[in-house]
């Protein structure tokens, strides 16, 4: 392997490791803060893990995307545009490129990995972690809680007015307050429900023209009646008309046949 290729890979690996370390540290800070939140709100501690993991994935992806030779050049201006040129032409070979490789290799010796570590940021983050750790321990030891979140959720679920509240009833009331007869039709018809409907038919008002009624057509029936048919007398055919009304009934039927 060419020395320049080896040097480039080494530099890249170092920067990559630093980026991963920085991401891990950032994630830890976020996790500690979430953990503190969970402690103070009496939430299960694993509630802090999921958001911390999501943050870690997104943050690490962003950090790794920025790992390139341009970031080294930004820290070391004397390598500006040379490192990317060498990296892009590592497979080629000519007199000038070889001279450039030697020059870059010489300048790369000045690269210090520590230069890529943001010391003030790391110090700040470590301090935050220490302080948050103490707060978590203290809060757990003295059972400090700002809010029992789970209890609150339980209370909310059992809140009585919610149970009595019926959305369908509310909607019905609303509908009643509106004039909806044009859309839904007559309310009196619609509201019959299971109530009994008493209908009285007046034969005189019928449209049936008895004069047009034809004689019944002769039909032949089976001589042998089925066994389940039984004949019996019906009291409805028995004349049970009081004597003083018998004449009136007879006249009525005579008159009715005339019409």
């Amino acid at each position: 392997m060419k020395p320049i290729k080896q040097a480039l890979e080494e530099a890249r690996t170092s920067i990559l490791q630093l980026a991963l370390f920085q991401s891990a540290l950032d994630t830890l800070v976020v996790y500690m803060l979430l953990l503190l939140g969970c402690t103070l709100l009496s939430l299960p501690l694993w509630y802090a893990v999921v958001p911390a993991l999501v943050y870690s994935v997104i943050h690490t992806y962003g950090n790794l995307k920025d790992v390139n030779f341009a970031s080294i050049e930004a820290k070391y201006p004397q390598l500006s545009e040379q490192l990317i040129t060498v990296a892009d032409n590592v497979k080629d070979q000519n007199e000038i490129l070889d001279a450039l490789n030697i020059e870059v290799l010489q300048k790369m010796k000045e690269i210090r990995t520590a230069a890529f570590l943001n010391f003030p940021k790391v110090t700040r983050e470590l301090s935050v972690m220490v302080i948050v750790s103490f707060i978590i321990i203290g809060a757990s030891a003295f059972n400090v809680k700002f809010l029992d979140f789970q209890e609150t959720i339980k209370d909310l679920r059992e809140f009585e007015p919610f149970k009595e509240y019926d959305i369908n009833e509310e909607l019905l009331q609303y509908e009643e307050s509106q004039n909806l007869s044009e859309i839904l039709g007559e309310k009196t018809i619609e509201e019959l429900g299971k109530q009994q409907l008493d209908l009285e038919l007046n034969p005189l008002m019928s449209d049936v023209d008895i004069g047009k009624v034809r004689d019944p057509t002769a039909r032949t029936f089976q001589e042998v009646a089925p066994p389940d048919i039984k004949a019996s007398s019906d009291t409805s055919f028995e004349e049970n008309i009081p004597k003083q009304y018998q004449r009136m009934v007879k006249t009525y039927f005579k008159e009715i046949t005339k019409s």
Binding site: E81, Q82, I84, T85, V86, D88, E95, I96
Partner: protein
């Protein structure tokens, strides 16, 4: 020749040029860029700004065959390319013999190229492109290296034939020659208004050296990001429709990269920087874009538009 030696050679060339030419360093550098890129340059500037003198001085530093064509409206293509003449042998027999024109040289100074008719311009531009000349049924190959360094002035346009964009595209660079600064002009006055002591210049670059340096320029490595930046710059001339009616062709992309490489070599750098692209964008693009009516209405010049593209 190593890169360090090449740098020393260029520094020496510039110091020799500065013995004759006052200022105009950027113009001289751009002309040298055209030579190293094995291409041609068009110098545009007002009369009396040392266009012709610069090229004559540069050619005297090169150990190459130099010729000058003073373009006029009555100049014929055969005056450039050469023609067949009748030659009488000692036996009395007469033969046609080809008499090469001034184009058969390594460095051709085409002075006031826009004064020649389009027909004559075409003959020269064909020689520039093909590096060969056809006279009658015979084709003559021009000797390598072959450069045309043409000049034109932007004023007195009456009776001139401005180069069409398609033909101007054959020139790698259009070098703008500006007026000198006050101090430079004072130096010019001191140097030339008194007893003129003719500077004796010795050739520095031989033909082989120049060819080797051209080869070296092409070897200068360039980062992919910078290459992309150059191509994006050229393609952006085709996309900025509000200011540019017709943008630069892919030939401009090739030219820009080559010119940037040559500039890096002149400066003794082993790589192409973004600054090279910025500096060379103006001479490479200014004659390859046609401004829109809107740009002209706003009073913008080619360089103003290129500046906007570079932002």
């Amino acid at each position: 020749m190593k890169l360090e030696e090449a740098k020393k050679t260029f520094d020496y060339i510039f110091s020799e040029l500065n013995r004759v030419i006052v200022g105009q360093n950027e113009m001289l550098k751009q002309v040298l860029v055209a030579l190293l890129s094995d291409s041609h340059a068009l110098l545009e500037g007002y009369p009396g700004v040392a266009k012709t003198l610069s090229i004559k001085t540069l050619s005297s530093l090169l150990d190459l065959k130099f010729s000058r064509i003073q373009n006029t409206p009555d100049l014929m293509p055969s005056d450039i390319t050469g023609t067949y003449i009748i030659e009488e042998a000692t036996s009395g027999k007469r033969n046609f013999k080809f008499q090469p024109g001034p184009v058969f040289a390594n460095v051709v100074l085409a002075d006031e190229i826009n004064r020649a008719t389009p027909k004559t311009q075409s003959a020269l531009l064909e020689a520039m492109q093909e590096k060969q000349v056809t006279v009658g049924n015979s084709t003559f190959k021009l000797e390598e290296p072959f450069f045309v360094l043409a000049t034109q002035n932007p004023i007195e346009q009456e009776g001139t034939y401005p180069l069409p964009e398609a033909q101007a595209d054959r020139f790698l660079l259009k070098v703008k020659v500006d007026y000198p600064t006050f101090d430079e002009e004072m130096e010019i006055v001191n140097r030339f208004a008194e007893e003129v002591k003719k500077q004796q210049l010795k050739p520095i670059l031989t033909k082989d050296n120049l060819v080797y340096l051209q080869h070296m320029a092409r070897q200068i490595p360039i980062a992919n990001d910078i290459k992309k930046y150059a191509v994006q710059l050229v393609t952006s001339t085709r996309q900025k429709k509000d200011l540019i009616e017709f943008g630069a062709s892919p030939r401009a992309s090739i030219g820009l990269i080559l010119a940037a490489k040559s500039r890096a070599l002149i400066e003794g750098r082993k790589y192409v920087s973004k600054d090279d692209i910025h500096k060379m964008a103006f001479p490479v693009l200014r004659h390859r874009i046609i401004l829109s009516f809107e740009a002209e209405r706003q009073g913008l010049h080619h360089d103003d538009v290129i500046k906007q593209l570079l932002k």
